[in-house]
């Protein structure tokens, strides 16, 4: 499989990364080089193999359903590029 300009544009858009035409031209061969190299994984017969889900067998725990922290609104907002009235500020999303 290889990617073309249109696919790279789509990947960039899904990744929410703005790219220029010149960057796309550079990315097409770069990504194809990497994708061509990882394609060798197709040689491995994995028909009877389960995909790995945990490197070290470890049952995921459930914690008690209780509030154990909170009241940290100002700390959470402390690093926001724009915060007003206790909320994150974002550009207008509804016309």
């Amino acid at each position: 499989m290889s990617v073309d300009k249109e696919t790279v544009k789509k990947i960039a858009s899904l990744s929410r990364i703005a790219v220029t035409e010149a960057e796309i031209d550079a990315l097409v061969p770069e990504l194809n080089n990497i994708l061509g190299w990882v394609e060798q994984l197709g040689e491995v017969d994995c028909s009877k193999v389960e995909p790995m889900t945990a490197v070290i067998p470890n049952k995921l725990r459930l914690r008690d359903d209780v509030v154990d922290d909170g009241n940290v609104r100002d700390k959470i907002l402390a690093n926001a590029p724009a915060a007003e009235h206790g909320f994150f500020g974002v550009p207008k999303v509804i016309e």
Binding site: I17, L41, V55, I56, V72, A80
Partner: protein, 494 residues
Amino acid sequence: MTEIYELGIAGIRSGIASGDFTAKEVAETFIGRVSAAKPLNAVLVETPDHALAAAEATDKAKAAGETLGKMAGVPIGMKDLFCTNGVPTTAASLILEGFTPQYESTVSSNLFKAGAGMLGKLNMDQFAMGSSNETSAFGNVISPWRRNDGGNADIAPGGSSGGSAAVVSGRICPAATGTDTGGSIRQPAAFVGITGLKPTYGRCSRWGTIAFASSLDQAGPMAHDVRDCAIMLEAMAGFDPKDSTSLNLPVPEWEAGLKSDLTGKRIGIPKEYRVDNMPPEIDALWQQGIQWLKDAGATIVDVSLPHTKYALPAYYIIAPAEASSNLARYDGVRYGLRDLPDGAGLQEMYAATREAGFGSEVKRRIMIGTYVLSAGYYDAYYTQAQKVRTLISRDFDKAWESCDVLLAPTAPSAAFGLGEKNDDPLAMYLNDVFTVPSSLAGLPAMSVPAGLDRQGLPLGLQLIGKALDEQTVLNAGLALEERAGFVAKPEQWW
């Protein structure tokens, strides 16, 4: 008397215990070393007050006759991937410029509770993506080492924990934290002639460590020698309910268990690690390492890890896939950079912020990750890679039927010069050929400095152990260390 700055963790501990010097003197010494090391560009934020406060606490505790913590009076360098309360943390990316965590990562918090102070936040490859420290948004870290050809070409400290490697080898910090996703502790440790240990996945909490690839990321110590790594890992590790993959197990007393007599231990030599065009010096050092371990009482067995060649391509699907998901959080809303062009809406703001904030290697990996996870390609790439990962893990399980620990080189070459390898991402990825398989299997692995190449640059040998068996890794490392007698240090030019 040995200068204080020449000492590692154990040396500082015994000097403070015997009253040769105070923790404050130690902190002041290293604060001076840090501020004089600016040409290496290894430290992004200096935190002398933190180191001094911890030192004063240690001196007070000692005067009061209290039992001192494992890291009491040891000022360390902190890789800038660990969130530190009130101290800017960027992962060496512009997208986190100005971010000041309001909380402390579990690993740094554990170290501080054990009495360590912090000298500063260390430069690294951006989001830990790189093998040469050339992807940092704040400039390259320059290795303290130089080639013996009389030239002054800048040498790469390795990556991603390049700042950590530089400060420990330059005797600028007595020890430093690192993180390892595909070799980011071990390869830089090998490049600068220090010891670095990646523990079993789950030993150290990932809470508060900026995520790259969550199923692979592990914190670990980078220090002068095997003993210092054992002490520091004891302080870093431990169960943390805030990390769902943290192992709920007691932390072993690795230092007390150190023993370089390897009688009865079987050392596996994986034949697939003998790669084409391996430099003869690396191969010779590997043979020497085999001899050293035999000399320590171990028996040597040949083992096969047949899927080794597929580890790198599997890694370069899995790690970018996890990164694309983890790095989706950088959106210009909650923290860090916001780029809001005139009249832009929310979507344009995301795209502009991420375009301006991420470096090119980070963007490349996010896009690869996005592609391999996208509809229609997920099974062919991501699921297949996770299946191959199962096979790689099984290879190790099979090897453990006939051996207790594996010996291999850490990296396929000595350190290269800055700028010598950064035009081809694939060539850079190949640096991790010996470190990635054990990362994919979550196994403990350590690099021990073992010799110099003909350019006078350090070379490391790697030990890979069974899950949770850091002790055998440390013991075999100690056996190598005692026999290698590696004492070379970079000459101070900065």
